[in-house]
Amino acid sequence: MADKAMKQAPAGHDLTEAFRSPVSRPPSAWQKGFDVAFKHIAHAFGVGVVLLLADIVFEVMRRAAPAMRAYGLRFLTTSTWDANRADFGVLAEIVGTLYTSILALGIGGFLGITVALVLSQGFVPRRMELVMKNVIELLAAIPSVVYGLWGIFVLVPAVRGPAGWLNEHFAAIPFFSTRLSGPGILPASLVLSIMILPTVTAVSREAMAAVPKRLAAAAYGLGATRWEVIFTVTLPTAVGGIFGALVLGFGRALGETMALAMLVGNANVFGLSLFSPGNTLAALLANHFPEAGKVEVGALMYATVVLMLITLTVNALGSFLMLRTTRELKGLG
């Protein structure tokens, strides 16, 4: 470096002069000032993101406060929604939110983990893997309102037949105790499971891919078949990440709005039947907010707080689990 600078520098100039050339020189006072300013601006925006989240929580809590004082815990344990008598309760919505999300997690989670296995354990050629991965990612790209439309005109008619048959023959089982008249818990949960599948697949695939190859190779070396390796090495090692994926998927399902508002039936009732209409917190907000009066808005804000608490808790838990797993796997590598 020094040699080069000496050669390039005209005769008579010493090294310090060479370094003061237009190509490399110490920053001017203005540049130093700008540097400090830019640093502070970047800091401010970083803090801004934190403030944004804090403000969201604060604003919603503030607007919900009067309703929270007025209705108290009764709001969580009753299920009437009557704007005229100012009588509100969201028990049916809380149950419906959890019920649809758990069903979706069961179906979408199982399928998602299976797809993640197929995409990460060398089942299909590399090229095919890439194609399938893109298709699954596209599933996440379809807007939820389009899934809602598809659900109304394709899925509901498709499940009506099997649902009617199950109801006729197994009405004694509480899950099949009512008829599916149109929208209901089952179609809503099915669409929901399609919507969380990409999340579960992407995150659990990452966890599976992070399992050190030599662990699997060691098991193969002992004569294990591919599925023996999957069940005894890959899945147990990646279990933290897979669990995190399920929690994140669950969080998505809890907050999903449009597909549910269009498919769940918006009935303030709850039961075990998969075919009866129900309601969820997000769907309640979507359906009532646009035309709500002052009193109802207060109650809706309270419902928002409930939804926010549930989803933020689940998401924070999911992020925390992911963080811990990444750390653990680093030690294995």
Partner: protein, 300 residues
């Protein structure tokens, strides 16, 4: 000794175990599970194809220039189009981008270049992740509380604000990883020339990371385009053209689909399918751009 003897007796069995027999129960279970897993993967992909098929069958029927140049028809009326909704979606997304880009991008610059592993950067990143999982309807409620209630009317601005909240975390987290993937050698070289950190960031890191940042922005745009929940009670809907007034209700494709999906009039349902086709096409194009933007030259 006994050990060695028993070992020698097992030799034939071990030799056999190197051969895979199709009738072996372990092989059968293995093959069965493989077939099942691949079949389930195909089942998982089926909805996408079904959705695309329905969009092409039902949505393409109404595709014509007048679809984009006419206003949404009222109940029971024939004709009309979705022109105001297309324009409305673009306006709301533009407003949202104008608000979300600076915050998300500068947040990413902070995280990648200044935060390091400090406590604040951990908190910022955590908040970003939590915002990613924020139900979109909560963004709508927030925008309703601070914009609609304050200004006294539903508006394009409120819709944009709600959507911006959903774009910020995507822009921030993808930009951060793009900025971080810039080789430190390049930065070191610039520092060696006497550049300040601000100069390194502005002249070296950001220009190099542009493809990755573009991907983040495209993904955020694609997500925002299709959002309905945050617009329902912020932007509301309008049966008229956007006339430059950001403080009035505005139409959007997604809310149009929601409103018309439950309509008893067949023509409105058909328009909902057509709007879905247009919306999904835009979203998919944005996704493709996002993927092309980050494809590294050496992968070709």
């Amino acid at each position: 000794m006994a050990h060695a003897a028993s070992n020698s007796q097992e030799v034939p069995a071990r030799k056999r175990s190197f051969h895979k027999s199709l009738g072996d129960s372990r092989t059968l279970v293995n093959t069965g599970l493989t077939v099942l897993a691949v079949a389930l993967s195909l089942v998982a992909m089926f909805p996408l194809f079904s959705v695309l098929y329905m969009l092409l069958v039902k949505g393409a029927a109404l595709l014509s220039p007048s679809l984009f140049s006419e206003l949404t028809p009222g109940a029971g009326m024939e004709g009309g189009g979705i022109g105001n909704a297309v324009v409305g979606t673009l306006v709301v997304v533009a407003v949202a981008t104008a608000m979300a880009l600076p915050l998300g991008f500068m947040g990413a610059v902070y995280l990648a270049e200044y935060g390091g592993e400090s406590k604040l950067s951990v908190v910022v990143r955590f908040c970003g992740k939590v915002l990613t999982g924020l139900p979109s309807i909560l963004a709508g409620v927030f925008a309703y509380a601070i914009v609609v209630v304050t200004t006294g009317s539903f508006s394009a601005f409120a819709g944009g604000a709600a959507m911006a909240i959903l774009m910020v975390p995507t822009v921030m987290l993808t930009s951060e990883s793009a900025l971080r993937s810039v080789p430190s050698k390049m930065k070191m070289a610039a520092f060696g020339m006497g550049a300040t950190r601000a100069q390194v960031v502005l002249k070296i890191v950001i220009p190099t990371a542009i493809p990755g940042i573009l991907t983040g922005v495209m993904l955020a745009l694609a997500r925002a385009m299709g959002e309905t929940a945050p617009l329902l009670f912020t932007a509301l809907f309008s049966d008229y053209w956007f006339e430059g007034e950001l403080l009035k209700p505005i139409a959007s494709l997604s809310v149009l689909i929601y409103n018309f999906a439950g309509s008893p009039f067949e023509h409105q349902v058909a328009l909902a399918w057509a709007a879905s086709l247009v919306l999904v096409t835009i979203v998919l194009v944005l996704n493709v751009i996002a993927q092309v933007a980050t494809r590294r030259p050496e992968e070709h």
